[in-house]
């Protein structure tokens, strides 16, 4: 476990992280397309990771220039908000030559996000500041004011140090910027689900615990790669409980809204706000369990409590 010595939400410079509020397609393109073109003109690597419909708009507006841009459907690549920093943003930024600014349009929040997903979205937006501070990167985050609720737009002012208001082309400081508060506010309790299969495990029963979880997931209809992924996630989470979380824990498995959900609850404390969101250097031993869970699950929620930690993972049926 890495101890965070410095304030994870300290000064960002030279990282730039504006939220941009748009009312229609024209406003969307008026900001995103010049942002992309200015980057290309400066020889900067550029990626656009936004929902498919908006991706098609940007691709068409860029014409031939689209070939020079990494284009990703955020509904796929960023379905799990916890995957976006390691699997999308840093995966792209870290692959570029050092020292050159990297530009990314990242749109992780859209109207179809579920009530289970949204807290992870807000925490993700806040944690981008911790993950990228001090790096020569610009991440522009569009927000659709037509159909996102008021509280989501308010959260965007708290997770972004600068904002581009509707109809504007330039950014101003956000007076509401308070990313640490957002992380804390969406650290919502994950209360035990009454009808779930529950199993208490320790070091001796780790393997059996995984078999119990996979058996229940199969009974609930999970198959193929998703079931293999659930097995991997449960192995990592239960092993973390044994090694870092007091030696024991309780796993639960149930189905909910077209997903199999599994969780592990233990007495451990997770201090590192970016756990599971950092790419791990190739030569580092260990420390990849939560990263893998974020990469494979369709949604990961974490509750950090005074008396323990709960990690909950969703796998689509």
């Amino acid at each position: 476990m890495t101890a965070e010595v410095a304030d994870p939400f300290g000064p960002l410079d030279p990282f730039v992280h504006p939220a941009f509020f748009y009312r229609d397609e024209q406003e969307y393109l008026d900001v995103t397309v010049p942002f992309v073109r200015d980057g290309l003109a400066a020889g900067e690597p550029v990626a656009v990771a936004v929902p498919g419909k908006n991706l098609a708009l940007v691709r068409e507006a860029l014409g031939d220039d689209a070939a020079a841009v990494r284009l990703l459907d955020m509904r796929e690549a960023g379905r799990n908000p916890g995957r976006i920093i390691p699997g999308v943003l840093r995966a792209f930024a870290d692959a570029q030559p050092a020292g050159r600014r990297v530009r990314i349009v990242g749109e992780p929040v859209w109207a179809g996000r579920s009530a289970a997903e949204y807290p992870a979205c807000a925490q993700h937006e806040a944690l981008i500041n911790a993950a990228f501070r001090g790096s020569t990167t610009t991440i522009l985050c569009p927000y659709d004011t037509r159909d996102l609720p008021e509280h989501v737009l308010a959260d965007a002012h708290a997770t972004h140090p600068v904002v581009i208001p509707e109809g504007a082309r330039t950014a101003r400081d956000s007076a509401a910027y308070a990313p640490g508060d957002v992380v804390d506010r969406y650290n919502e309790p994950l209360d035990p689900v009454a009808h779930a299969l529950a199993f208490s495990f320790d070091a001796e029963s780790l393997s059996h615990a995984r078999h119990v979880a996979v058996g229940e997931a199969s009974r609930l209809g999970l198959t193929g790669v998703k079931r293999d992924d659930l097995a991997l996630a449960m192995a990592e989470l239960t092993t973390n409980s044994v090694v870092h979380g007091g030696g024991t824990g309780v796993l639960r498995v149930w189905s909910e809204d077209g997903h199999v959900v599994c969780e592990v609850r233990d007495a451990g404390r997770l201090a590192d706000v970016l756990v599971g969101r950092r790419p791990v250097p190739r030569d580092q031993r260990g420390g990849r369990g939560m990263l893998l869970v974020n990469l494979i699950a369709d949604l990961v929620r974490v509750h950090r409590g005074d008396s323990g930690t709960t990690v909950r993972c969703w796998f689509a049926l």
């Binding site: 009454a194 529950a198 001796e204 029963s205 780790l206 393997s207 059996h208 293999d228 192995a235 893998l292």
Partner: protein
Amino acid sequence: MSNPFQVPSAEARGPRPGLAVYPLPGRRGVRAAGEVGLTTRAIWEGVLEQAVREGEGVYHLELSDVTFVDVAGAGALAAAAGRLRDGRRFVVRRPPAALRRTLDLLWPDQEGIEVSAS
């Protein structure tokens, strides 16, 4: 299930799965059977350590009877492969899906590991 919050303890669990390792007749390498997880990691790392230290060329890992490898187990294999020099490599035969998946996601393009499905 009268009490929904009742958490069964694991008294009905089977024997703890181990990891058995056998030499491969006629080839450099081992056949393993069981699981690679927290309680068997030391056995697995011992195999890999010996593979790195001894010999040359290809080291075979026959894993068709290994049912699961966790992330740390995959990491130990990647680390061992990273220490191989002069074109040496592991040939991993019929690994469980979990090992393949983890290597693809966390150690793409790791040199020194050749996965064989047959």
